[in-house]
Symmetry: C2
Subunit: 319 residues, 2 copies
Amino acid sequence: MTPRVTLLAGGVGGAKLAEGLAAVCSPERLSIIGNVADDQEFHGLWVSPDIDTLTYSLANLIDRRQGWGLADESHRVLAGLERLGCDTWMSLGDRDMATHIFRTQLRHQGVRPSAIAQRIAESLGVDIDLLLPTDDPLQTTVKTEQGWLAFQEYFVRERCRPEVLEVRFEGAATARPTSEALAAIETAEVLLIAPSNPVVSIAPILAVPGIRRAIETSRATRVAVSPLIGGRTVKGPADRMLTAMGYPCSNLGVAESYAGLLDGLVIDASDRDDRTALEAEGVTVLTTDTLMTDAEEKARLAGETLAFAGALRREEVEA
Amino acid sequence: MTPRVTLLAGGVGGAKLAEGLAAVCSPERLSIIGNVADDQEFHGLWVSPDIDTLTYSLANLIDRRQGWGLADESHRVLAGLERLGCDTWMSLGDRDMATHIFRTQLRHQGVRPSAIAQRIAESLGVDIDLLLPTDDPLQTTVKTEQGWLAFQEYFVRERCRPEVLEVRFEGAATARPTSEALAAIETAEVLLIAPSNPVVSIAPILAVPGIRRAIETSRATRVAVSPLIGGRTVKGPADRMLTAMGYPCSNLGVAESYAGLLDGLVIDASDRDDRTALEAEGVTVLTTDTLMTDAEEKARLAGETLAFAGALRREEVEA
């Protein structure tokens, strides 16, 4: 039987490992905690990009080429909004729009965001618990030379071009963790952190009061998969953001950003030179191919990561 | 110079005459007051079918085949909502959805519904004042053997099949007329009532306190175009509704339903036998072809109706 696994995941990279885990784990023994701090309202509709990427990936409805959004998508609603004078820099497809309309309606009705996320996932055929870290407002904002930007303004509108001076998670001080997320951490035998942006995908989950402590005190084996390949991110600004936050832009920086939360780190074969330095810091390392170019590669990385966690667990038991 | 014309209009038939008037009047001398009592929220979005039909018709974006909705439409958002478990009996196209999203966002921001309607119309290239009778809630509900139904439930979901026992305009007692609608009635030289359903398209406009009185006391020449052709409606349940409301299902019934508001009535040539009875009731009649099958016919009917009103005006002046 597979162990009880809980994954902390951001957007595209997180969704890939989530798919891999879904291929190798029993669905009732896998929980995924996604990031809601990238959420933003567009045209009065509540858009939740990271959660949608997880949902659409697990439902096998994702646009495989771009890694986010629905496959076979059109943009007729957005064209209509543009004609009505709206800013349409946030790409929202027609099929995707149904999700945002549905989510917004239920939010206005007072349904908990985490219940909405689970309901959307179930409607689309996802049989895994997709959990939110909090039902309270939590918003990543990024300080640049242009001032403070909402995350999507920085990420999509400005295409990550401005230098990041500071990152804040508005609402983190008062956000309450969902009981489902806490339970998934507390009951996990293996706790994984996906190859997502440590600074803006994983950190906001950890910023919800109670979540970091639950991971620190968990009896689970805790393993992160590094988002770096050849010292850089495949996609997105995680490498530059690590630097901006004062971490080395390497797997050492990734490990530092997760200090106190890791038993092991999975790094890409191209970064095997980081191994010695990581082990000197007390981080056990698995070196493998982490790019996840197709379903087989996702399942292979998920399986190797779980086997690595299993080996770490046995070492602990033997120690 | 064309006279200052104000048209009270419902949906499809109203939009056709509106188009005809737009073709023969100076835009700055034409105002249209539409019906908002058919409005209903779907999927958390505020849908305003009669106003949209007017707007899309005047913008020449309407689906000419069905008379409502946008041309070249798709329904991918609706398919997505259906997949998420929503009731999707109300047909809402993708391009159309942009209008509802935009309207809903502005309503949530506290913008007056009439300012929103005007802004949508202007964005789509309509250069005529499109006015709402009220910015307050006003909802047509229909009593059937199934109980009370919202108008769209009766009209679209139940396809007008249940017998109508009673019609109410919820909110009419406290609705305030917009200053723009009152001004358009007060300054009009010709006041027209479109060939719309008297019971559920025109009556709710007249039910807004102050509107009926403004028409009764107006110095404008007041002419209605009957929605009946051969004693029946081209489309929709106006004929059966007139009967249900206790009016004769004929042009006599139409004239009765507008008692105190008309100087003249335009009826279809196929109903020329109604003329004598109408004139006996003191209603001056113009008999012509009222079907409006194309742009030319719309403009012709608008022109004949204005000429008829002009002649009535001269008679009055001479009398």
